[in-house]
């Protein structure tokens, strides 16, 4: 029988566009030391480590073995889990199974990226099939732009509707000193006037490139409760990484992988009405339009209702379902860490450690990951032991 598992501490770097003062290993170490301090343990209490990033952003082959001095993996079990943008949730879910299996009591999940070290787009375009896709339709922006324009066409959503999402996340980042875009608020006009990357996506609609790391401590039932007063229990997880070719994505049926992952995770967790059942959501929204369309896939509102739902303030701090109190991916995007930051921030909300970004009385939280070829991960956390 699988053991119950909780998050008992999290640490992250102060995310920046360039961290020239540290190399990758040293940056990882900052997040790890903060996670250990937050959990009030030392590295000797950690039984295993899971680490992830994207190889070609730093050109490090076998990051698990390269990083041990920073991660704490010298003479410990360590493995690398990596799935592109979803790496962070993949790492978190792997940490969950390390503990749930009964083989390890306390494990450390690490996601990191030093995006300043390379050309993100030059690396990301190589995700698509070298024979069929790489020369024509690859990388993040073209497929996201296709989705956005299809959504606008289908439901009459506007560029201003999307800009509202970017403004929300950047406003929330005012409360998060770790965010790269901390204290850099923007207006809808700023978004509309920012340079067009690929219609309808403009510069301020998309995530930045970030140097940063995140580390999260997972512990087993029986241990977690003794470590901190209110652990964040993993209630359910679900993953859909189905598609291989960008051309196979159907943009008119909603965000399919997210619908399917959410359906499974909600069913396991007993979530019936997401807008009511969740107290906070930390969503991997790499660009503003996702904040309209993907929340429909998550069942926060019906198809085409995203713009109104967001526009009415339901997703702001103080709204029915605050989204991205951390400032989200639009405010910080150290890619291998990005989805783990969603899980960490959701856990922080349950543990009540959100300081200025804390949503009151969080019992149930949703975290998501996005990546690869329109892939989605869903993680549900709760303050009550499942």
């Amino acid at each position: 029988m699988a053991r119950r598992v909780a998050i008992v501490g999290a640490g992250q770097t102060h995310h920046k566009s360039h961290r020239l003062d540290v190399n990758g290993r040293e940056m990882i170490n900052e997040a790890v030391m903060r996670a250990l301090a937050d959990s009030e343990i030392t590295i000797t209490d950690i039984d295993a480590i899971i680490i992830g990033n994207m190889d070609h952003f730093e050109s490090i082959n076998y990051v698990d073995t390269w990083s041990v001095e920073g991660s704490g993996g010298v003479m410990k079990p360590i493995m690398k889990v990596t799935t592109g943008g979803t790496t962070g949730t993949s790492v978190a879910i792997a940490a969950y199974y390390h503990v749930a299996s009964g083989l390890f009591d306390r494990v450390l999940a690490i996601g990191w990226e030093k995006n300043s070290e390379s050309d993100t787009t030059a690396a990301i375009v190589t995700c698509s099939d070298p024979v069929w896709d790489r020369f024509s339709y690859s990388g993040a922006i073209p497929s996201l732009a296709t989705e956005a324009s299809a959504y606008m066409e289908q439901y009459g959503a506007t560029q201003e509707d999307a800009a509202r999402v970017a403004v929300r996340d950047r406003t929330h980042a005012l409360n998060n000193p770790y965010a790269q875009m901390y204290n850099r608020p923007i207006t809808i006009q700023d978004v509309m006037e920012s340079s067009m990357l690929a219609y309808p996506i403009k510069l301020l609609d998309v995530c930045p490139r970030t140097d940063g790391a995140c580390a999260v401590v997972f512990a087993a039932e029986g241990i977690a409760e003794k470590m901190i007063p209110r652990p964040a229990w993993i209630k359910s997880t679900a993953v859909r990484h189905t598609t291989t070719w960008f051309g196979d994505v159907d943009y008119d049926t909603g965000m399919l992988s997210l619908q399917r992952a959410a359906r499974e995770a909600y069913e396991k967790a007993g979530i019936k009405n997401p807008a009511e059942d969740f107290d906070v959501a930390e969503l991997y929204l790499p660009y503003s339009y996702a904040g309209l369309k993907w929340i429909e896939a998550l069942g926060f509102c019906g198809p085409g209702e995203g713009p109104a739902f967001v526009g009415e303030g339901n997703t702001d701090m103080g709204g029915i379902i605050p989204m991205n109190p951390s400032g989200g991916v639009i405010s910080t995007n150290c890619i291998g860490a990005t989805a783990l930051l969603r899980v960490a921030e959701a856990a922080i909300q349950i543990m009540g450690k959100g300081e200025k970004r804390q949503v009151p009385d969080v019992k149930t939280a949703l975290a998501t990951g996005f990546g690869g070829c329109w892939w989605s991960d869903v993680v549900i956390l709760t303050g009550d032991k499942p």
Binding site: V22, T42, G70, G72, E117, D119
Partner: protein, 155 residues
């Protein structure tokens, strides 16, 4: 087997992942490389917990998992002892020397861990235990190859 498989031509496609990189060395490593460049010195540092003297120097000790603070720097070498080596017999564009040349793990005087570098000359005399000395390049840029190689010292 389908008939068309008998004589289908197997095509391949050439490609390369072309991504330029700019790696952060970090402050500790930068001091090490700057000392190579500006002073022809090899710096290490000592973990205050286990007393290991590391080269290249580290920001934290991987074994003790504690920060190594500022005042633990030590100048090492430039001489040391070979503890392991291999004479490389193949050429490859990645290698900074033409074969035959050697890679060696060198215990620099004052260090507790080995330092991996090149030996170009005197390969026939190369043994574990021989003493070697760092040979610096004339033109140095703050790079591990500011040390051209290590040279064997006469016994």
């Amino acid at each position: 087997m389908a008939a068309w498989l008998q004589d289908v031509e197997d095509l391949t496609l050439k490609g390369q992942i072309n991504v330029p990189y700019t790696w952060s060395v970090g402050e500790v490593g930068s001091r090490f490389l700057v000392a190579l460049r500006d002073e022809e010195k090899i710096l290490g540092n000592r973990c205050p917990s286990c007393n290991t003297v590391y080269v290249p120097p580290r920001k934290n000790c991987g074994s003790c998992f504690k920060d190594i603070d500022d005042n633990q720097w030590a100048e090492l070498g430039p001489e040391g002892v070979v503890t392991a080596f291999t004479i490389v017999r193949y050429d490859y564009p990645l290698q900074p020397a033409k074969a035959p040349f050697a890679y060696a793990i060198i215990k620099l005087d004052g260090a507790d861990v080995g330092f991996v570098h090149l030996i170009r000359q005197g390969l026939e005399k190369l043994r574990n235990g021989v003493r070697v000395k760092a040979l610096f390049k004339e033109e140095r840029t703050g790079h591990i190859l500011d040390i051209d190689s290590f040279v064997l010292l006469e016994a």
